[in-house]
Each structure stands twice: as C-alpha cells, then as structure tokens.
C-alpha cells in the first residue's frame, strides 16, 4: 500500500467537510462582507437537527437524507432571523459584525448546552454508509466518500444557482456594486436576506455531515469556525473555486501532517501554513483586481 494513499484520501474527505463549513461563509463573508462567528453554531444546529430528525424517522438509512434539507432550512431560517434582527444594521461595519456574532455564538452554545443532554446526542450513520472502498490496497471508509460527494453536490448547486438563476445574478450584481444594483431596481434587502439564508443553510448541511464524523454537542461548532474562515480567506474573497482548492489543500495538509507527525502538531502546522500563505498572498489564491483606494 502506498503511504501517500491514506493521507491523500482522508485529507480530501477532511477538506470536503472543511469546504462544507466554509461554503456558507464564502457567501456571507465573501459576497456580503459579514463576518459571522456564529457560523459554527449554525453548523451545530444542523447536527442537532439531524438528531431530532432521527427521533422522528427511526431508520437512519432514511433519516439522514431527510435531515439534509431540513437542516438546511432550519439553520437557514435561524440565519435569516439573525440577519433581520441584527446584521442588517451593520453592513457598513464588517468588523463589528464579527463581535456581535461572537455574542450570538456564546448564547447559542449555552442554549444548546441547556436544551440537549450535556454529554451530547448520538446521530446514527445510515447503514448504506457502512463499509469501505478498496483503493490502491487501502480500504477507505465509505462515509468519507459521502462527505466528498455531499460537498461536491453543494458546490455544484451553489455555483449553478449563482450563475444561472436570476436570483444568483442579482446577488452577484449586488456584491459588485450595491448602489448601482439598487438603482437598477434590485431589492438589495431581499438579496441580503436570501444570501444569508442560503449561507447559513449550508452550515446546517455541513452540520449533518459533521454529526456523522464527530460528536454532536454544544461545543462542536467552535472547532470549525477558525479553519473555515482561513479557508475562505486563503481561497480569495468571493471566489468559489478558490475556496474549493483552499479547503482541499488544507484538508490534505492536515491529514498528511497528522499522518507523518502528530495530531496536535498537524493542527499547528496547518494553521501556520495558512497564516504564512496569507502573509505572502494576502488577497488569497484568486482575486479580482480592482481599482480602488484600498
């Protein structure tokens, strides 16, 4: 068995989960400039939704596919609520959105801790994800390929939605020039709300995927938020393909470091790698050149 195979495959899966967590951010942060530190808690809500769906639909074969859209809607609606109540007042103050949403994330964590059993809740894996694929002599967990497929599907749907639907075009127009879009008759308020709904909903989907990988508890969101932001930043703001590549690279780097060094050191090295990368290329992998004062 080639020593490169396990870290590459596992890293790709790890990157896919990171991508799912970052995808929503690349919308809300990349397209709208909102720094939502409660994104990790939306992910947590997606995971808890998966648990609740399993309480209703007993068969885990069925409950996870059902949980995906439900988690999308639940987390999305919560994001919408956040947008309508707080974020809308702060579009000119992006750094302040960061601080406000830290408050939101603290409250959501504590609320989850008090609502659900403190130890966390179990989310059962569908039977059709048990088993392994044998790739170059390495038996690769089937569940990992599920994460990758899910991430790929989300990216495909999102980019198609942005590209081909009129709503997607309106989002892009608003991002490029809010004032011009407004004068062109686009309701930027509706666009903001919808973008936030979709971005938060994607966190919910990521939460379902995460619930199949680790524990579902009040603290789970915290481990994704910083890496997800780094991935968006490293990919380049508002650049879907950049986010995809960055997530994959970070995932593979994490897995390779973990494979060759230790689990803790891998986390440190991966963080430092991204920080150094952003120092060398502050604008990320891909960038839109602009003529602006900034």
């Amino acid at each position: 068995m080639n020593a490169l195979v396990p870290p590459l495959l596992n890293g790709t899966a790890q990157g896919a989960l990171l991508l799912l967590a970052a995808l929503g951010l690349s919308l809300t942060f990349g397209q709208m400039g909102v720094i939502n530190m409660a994104h990790g808690e939306f992910l947590m809500i997606g995971a808890f939704t998966a648990y609740l769906v399993q309480q209703v639909i007993d068969s885990s074969d069925l409950s996870i596919p059902v949980a995906l859209p439900v988690a999308f809607v639940v987390a999305g609606l919560l994001g919408l609520l956040l947008e309508v109540s707080i974020i809308r007042w702060m579009y000119r103050r992006p750094l302040d959105t960061l601080l406000v949403t830290i408050g939101v994330s603290l409250i959501l964590q504590q609320a989850a801790l008090q609502t659900f059993p403190a130890q966390g809740v179990p989310v059962k894996q569908p039977g059709w994800l048990d088993g392994q694929l044998t790739i170059l002599g390495y038996s690769w967990p089937l569940r990992q390929s599920f994460t990758i497929v899910l991430a790929a599907a989300c990216v495909a749907i999102l980019s198609a939605w942005l590209k081909y639907t009129s709503f997607g075009r309106r989002i892009r127009a608003t991002v490029q020039n809010r004032d011009l879009a407004e004068t062109a008759g686009i309701s930027t308020r509706t666009v903001d709300r919808l973008t936030f709904f979709v971005g938060s909903g994607l966190a919910g989907v990521a939460g379902v995927a995460a619930s199949l990988i680790g524990g579902t508890n009040s603290q789970m969101g915290a481990q994704y938020i910083i890496p997800a932001f780094l991935v968006v930043a490293a990919g380049g703001i508002g650049q879907l393909k950049g986010t995809v590549i960055a997530a994959w690279a970070v995932g593979v780097a994490l897995s390779c470091f973990a494979y060759w060094t230790t689990g803790s050191l891998a986390q440190v090295l991966a963080l430092i790698l991204v920080i150094v990368f952003l120092q060398v290329r502050p604008q990320g992998l891909f960038t839109v050149r602009t003529r602006s004062l900034a």
Binding site: M1, A118, G120, P122, D130, Y138, I213, N217, S218, Q223
Partner: protein, 430 residues
C-alpha cells in the same frame, strides 16, 4: 514648557505613591526566612456554632467541561440531600454553596479561594480536569482547606489538603493492563487525547507493557477539542494491533468510535478498552459499541449491597441523567467520606480531620463496595473491574481484581516503575 514640568511632577508623584506602597508591602517573608505554609495561613473562618455547616461544590456549569461536570454537581446535591435527610454531619445540616468553575482554571482557583475565605466553607468538592485540580491545589494548601476530587486521574500527586476519591493509575490503568495480559494481547495501540492524563497513563502503560511482554505498536494523540480521528485510525489499521487502549476524553471519543467502525474495525477483530467511556457516554457515541471494554471501579451493573439504593435514588432525583457511572459514584463517595472523616474526628477542623484520617481506619459502604481511606496518601482503596458493553449500553463485568486495590499514587509497589523517576516525582510533589 509648563505642561512638561507638570507632567514630570505627576510622574514623580505617581512614582512616589508606588514606591511608598511597595515599601509598606515589601516587608513580607523572603525565601529562606523560615518555612512558609500552613502556619502563615489565616485562622479558619469556618463557623461551626449553628446547626448548619457550609460546604462548597465547585464544578464547571458552563463552557466545554460542563458536558461532564454538571452530572457530578447534581450527584453532589443528591448526596447532600441524603445526608441532610439522615440528620446531617455531626448533627449539622449541610448548606452547600454551588460555584461555577466555568471550564476556566484560574476561575477554579478564584472560586476555591472565595469558598474558603469569603463563604468560609468547611470543605470543597468538585473539579474534573487535572488542570482544575492543579489550580485549586495551591489555594487549599495556602488556606489550609480541604478539597475532595472525584475523578480518576494520572496519580503521582498527593497533598495534605486534597482527598482523591477517583482511581489513581494503579486502580484503573494497571488492572486494565492485567486484563489485557490475561487475554493474551501481544500488540497494543495507544490512542489518547493530547493532555496530561493520557500522556501520563501511556507512559506508565509502556513501562508495564514491557514487563508484561506486550508490544506497543503505535501511539496517537489528538487535541481534546478535535473530533476527527480518521487519519489516526488509518494508522491504527496499518499497525494491526490486537487491542486498542483508549485514553481519549470527551466528545473526541465519538469521532474516534465513528472512524474506528468506518475503517472496518470491530470488537471481534480489534477491541477497544477505554478508561473514559462510562454508562453516560456510551449511548452518545452514535454507534453500537457492543463488545467493547472499559476499565472502571464502579459500573451500574455492579452487584453490591449498596448499589441498588444508589441507582434508585439517582433515577428518582430531579436532575438525573438516568444512568449511574464511575465519576458520579466517586463524587457520591466524596461527600460521605467527608462525613465519616468529620465524625471520626468529632470536628470540622482541617487538622483534626487529617489527624483522624491517619489515626482511624475510615471506611464507607460505597456503591462499589466498602472502600477504605489511606490516611497517608488520601486516596481510597477500590476494586478494579473490566466491563464489556452490552446492547443496552450497560456493562457486563468480565474481569475483576482479586481484592480491593490499595491506592498507590506513586506506584511504590511496582518494581517496573523506575525508582529514580519516582524519587524525583515524590520530591517535586513536596
């Protein structure tokens, strides 16, 4: 220029205030001025005149560790209620003050000091992580207070002001190794969270494994707050162990268990023995873990005279989590052990309690059996049990130690533990 000179004056004035204040304060003891310690502690402010006695409970009710510590807090409340219903300690009803450690170790230190000096409690119960214990230790030593710590830990510590009612390594880790040896395990993999307990436990495991002829085929650690174990499990698969020794703590265990089954490992081929998965954690794994093992001193399924009553009270308790587990039971013991100590001493005074611990044989009919306090090292004797998880997430006991294991935090009774290390550790522990 006037501004400048005025500023200068201000600076000089401030400087003077500081210097005078420091000079006034700087009359404290210096190193070598004689032994610091209990003598310098202010006299205890514990009020024993009324018909109540104040005790402090110190657990994380918020933050990450609330996941585990809330239950300990609840069971302490239950024990206090029970003791009060039975007449209290020395005829005084317990009045407990619950403090939140907030998963923040300096907060543990602060709250311990508050409980001792502001609330004047007679003893403090709680803590979970080693960090919380290490934060509280200097505080209780300084104020000559008492701290009862209810969780299994890495040993190599003792303090006149701390009583340990959880297992030390020779009551949990070593029995687990004996069990593995009895199963004929030859290749062992060590998987743990990256903090002091797994690191220390694994250091001891490696020493003992060499003696038992068990080969350690790998050792992996993941940070406490990370759940993804897939890459490490790939390494475990490649290492082909007979058994996995799991010292992972918290929700990271869920990630480990999921990755383990996803990789095609099973209890039939590569079983796991855990020291942090108990009745409470087992159902939260999101995967059947039937057939896996755990090493504890107490299981809900344990057949003793006292266990049914404990289980019954807990299940009826308002904030119950439904199942009983080892850390809960150790917390339950801690309050009763304190009661027994105080009653043996006939006083709430710390020195009297410590003296009583040395002079008398303090026992308590605990749910795990009758435990005996070692008055010298402040740990208690415990039975070692290995349980195998059944379909109801309860443990079938498959192995037990011959007798109650006397606590040996510095592993003095084990010749494979290097004497020079022990000497240094004893010295460092003071």
């Amino acid at each position: 220029m006037s501004t400048f000179s005025r500023r200068l004056r201000t600076l000089v004035a401030t400087g003077t205030i500081v210097t005078v204040a420091l000079a006034l304060a700087g009359c404290g003891a210096r190193a070598g001025d004689g032994t610091p310690g209990a003598e310098s502690a202010a006299p205890s402010c514990v009020d024993t005149s009324g018909d109540t006695i104040k005790l402090g409970f110190l657990n994380s009710l918020t933050g990450g560790m609330a996941i585990s510590e809330k239950t300990v807090s609840n069971v302490l409340h239950m024990a206090a209620d029970e003791i009060n219903a039975g007449g209290g300690i020395l005829g005084k009803k317990i009045k407990y003050i619950q403090e939140d450690g907030a998963t923040d170790w300096p907060t543990f230190a602060e709250k311990a000091e508050k409980l001792l000096t502001q609330d004047c409690v007679a003893a403090i119960f709680g803590g979970w992580t080693s960090s919380s214990r290490k934060a509280v230790k200097p505080v209780v030593e300084k104020h000559n207070g008492l701290f009862f710590y209810p969780v299994q830990y890495e040993g190599l510590e003792s303090s006149p002001n701390i009583y340990y009612t959880g297992a030390t390594t020779n009551q949990q880790i070593i029995p687990a190794m004996d069990f593995l040896a009895s199963k004929g395990v030859k290749r062992l993999f060590l998987a743990g969270s990256d903090y002091v307990f797994p690191r220390t436990a694994n250091a001891i495991i490696k020493l003992y494994a060499a003696k038992l002829g068990i080969q350690i085929v790998g050792e992996e650690y993941v940070p406490l707050d990370k759940d993804d174990w897939t890459t490490q499990v790939a390494k475990i698969v490649a290492a082909k162990p007979d058994f996995i020794f799991n010292t992972i703590n918290g929700s990271s265990n869920v990630g480990f268990i999921k990755a383990y089954y996803d990789a095609g490992l099973t209890a039939a081929t590569t079983p796991i023995i855990s020291v942090s998965i108990a009745e409470e954690e087992a159902p939260a794994m999101g995967h059947e873990i039937t057939g896996q093992y755990a090493s504890w001193n107490y299981f809900e399924s344990l057949k003793t005279d006292t266990n049914p009553k404990f289980i019954k009270s807990w299940k009826a308790y308002p904030n119950s989590s439904g199942v009983t587990s080892d850390p809960m039971e150790a917390a339950y013991i801690s309050l009763y052990l304190y009661k027994a100590l105080v009653e043996a001493a006939g006083s709430f005074d710390v020195d009297a309690v410590n003296a009583a611990a040395k002079k008398n044989t303090i026992t308590f009919a605990a749910p795990e059996g009758t435990v005996t306090l070692d008055g010298e090292n402040h740990h208690i004797s415990k039975p070692g049990h290995i349980g195998r998880i059944n379909a109801n997430n309860q443990f079938d006991i498959v192995w037990s130690s011959d007798k109650f294991i006397a606590p040996d935090p510095f592993l003095k009774g084990y010749d494979w533990f290097p004497a020079n290390v022990r000497d240094q550790l004893v010295k460092a522990a003071g």
